[in-house]
Subunit: 216 residues, 3 copies
């Protein structure tokens, strides 16, 4: 397998993993099988869909290549069946989720940098590709998105996207940049999971209750 194929296989793997993640979230809300499949597919395809929409680079990726639809749908359906039989280890899922995050971020950054010259835009697009699916999943579950509250997750995506952009400037090939970017995101995310790193939390000064909710 040449490197481009490896990236493609990892991409489909990421789609499948996020599909499983969405289905499990649907399960916690006692949705029916349709809800499970919808939430699985939205989680798996949401990030890339937003990226392609905002870049306005033609139809979104799964319109051109329905294999993504099939993988996301199949992963969600299988999850619905599997949880009745198997006990899925949370640790395995989290590691798979980290791989998905890493691959999506690298691919999103690469896609953006092929269209726009701006490195900050490419980094934002990379992060968005990695994390937006999970955010939409949580919104549809009527919860505050986990990644907004949780330890180093999108920060890992940020590091991966920055890595990609720097390596591209150094003149490395696209595939090399992607492989190293995936590796960077993955290491940071796994380290954060293992040692429970976290970022500082918003803390207002006493009596400085923030917000726009009242008019006085």
């Amino acid at each position: 397998m040449d490197p481009a194929q490896i990236i493609y296989v990892l991409d489909l793997f990421g789609v499948a993993v996020f599909g499983v993640s969405g289905s499990l979230a649907a399960g916690r809300k006692r949705m029916d099988i349709f809800g499970v499949i919808v939430l699985g597919m939205v989680t798996a395809l949401g990030g890339g869909t937003l990226r392609d929409t905002f870049l306005d680079a033609g139809p979104v990726f799964w319109v051109n290549n329905p294999v993504y639809l099939l993988v996301a749908g199949a992963a969600s359906t299988l999850t619905f069946i599997a949880v009745r039989i198997l006990r899925i280890s949370n640790r395995v899922l989290l590691i798979a989720d980290a791989i998905g995050l890493a691959v999506f971020t690298a691919i999103g950054t690469a896609k953006a940098i092929a269209i726009t010259d701006s490195q900050s835009v490419a980094i934002i697009m990379g992060i968005m590709t990695g994390v937006a699916g999970g955010m939409i999943r949580d919104v549809l579950s009527a919860e505050v998105p986990l990644i907004l509250r949780r330890e180093i997750y999108a920060t890992a995506a940020l590091c991966g996207a920055v890595t990609y952009v720097i390596l591209t400037r150094l003149g490395l090939t696209d595939i090399t940049c992607q492989m190293v970017s995936v590796f960077a995101t993955l290491c940071i995310r796994l380290a954060a999971m293992h040692w429970h790193f976290s970022l500082p939390v918003f803390q207002a000064k006493d009596g400085n209750e923030p917000g726009f909710s009242d008019e006085t």
Copy 2:
């Protein structure tokens, strides 16, 4: 009236019905008249807007034909006034909602298949056109979307979209396909409402509490 006109009238009817549905949801949350109109319009136009965005087929449909905006806005405003005077039967609303679902699904599938060759993409676009407006309505009301939890609803849209795709392959005219697709969705949805069909619910094995919320 020729069949194309019938579809167009039904489409506007669907927009109006979903506008009413969104306004009533806003009412349950005690929104003011502006909130009612916004939620009505988002519900009425949301599905088609997402479809056109993801297909990247030029500006979304209501930019090209503002009649849709006016119908959605008028339906929402009238609902705001009407509920102070009339008692609206829930049964009438649900039947009207089923008609809207059926028409939107058929039109969405037809629009997609004119642009993409992929049948699975066309089916997804049909379902999305039918159900996404209601999902956005529920998200803006800070609730888990009803259609993810409820008896045969999007499944009816799935059947309608599949019907359309099969008939197109058999070489029938676009209008015929749309009429039969509308009829199929409508029958399944009304039957499901009448006999309270429902889909199996997600059920995890004991001790297999799904989810990504904890890091252990």
Copy 3:
């Protein structure tokens, strides 16, 4: 400074203010610094992003001009730091927010009318540019969007957008229209804040409990 520059500076000012508003909302939910920055950026850029997406006028504005990204990101980060030290007056924030609303609405209407002939579409796009960022902020915070429940807010945007459209028809220059539109929105919003104007609330007749939640 010529008028076009004034509009540009006010636009960046609006981005910064909405960035602060999003960050403070994130703070109320005890998000970490990444969540604060994401919510700040989404609030600051969300309205214009939806407008550009629905108009299908090429990549969204911040892809072409990353200065917007930097301003939104910087405003959010500074807010995260500032609330630990300063006490931010709610009154100052609300006035700044009103300026942002007014500028975004005028710019959104102007952008839309340059692309579409329809005045109703331009008005909707103007309102959307002004209010959608705040709505997405509230959805990501798992709350019913404030503007759907609160006194004259989007109504002020409506008046500003209508003002712009009328003045354009009278043949005034683009810059004049924008300045007057900003002034109109701002006056109405500030007056509404000062005298606590509000719109009538949805009120169902007794026993006319609205909604699609039950199937009977």
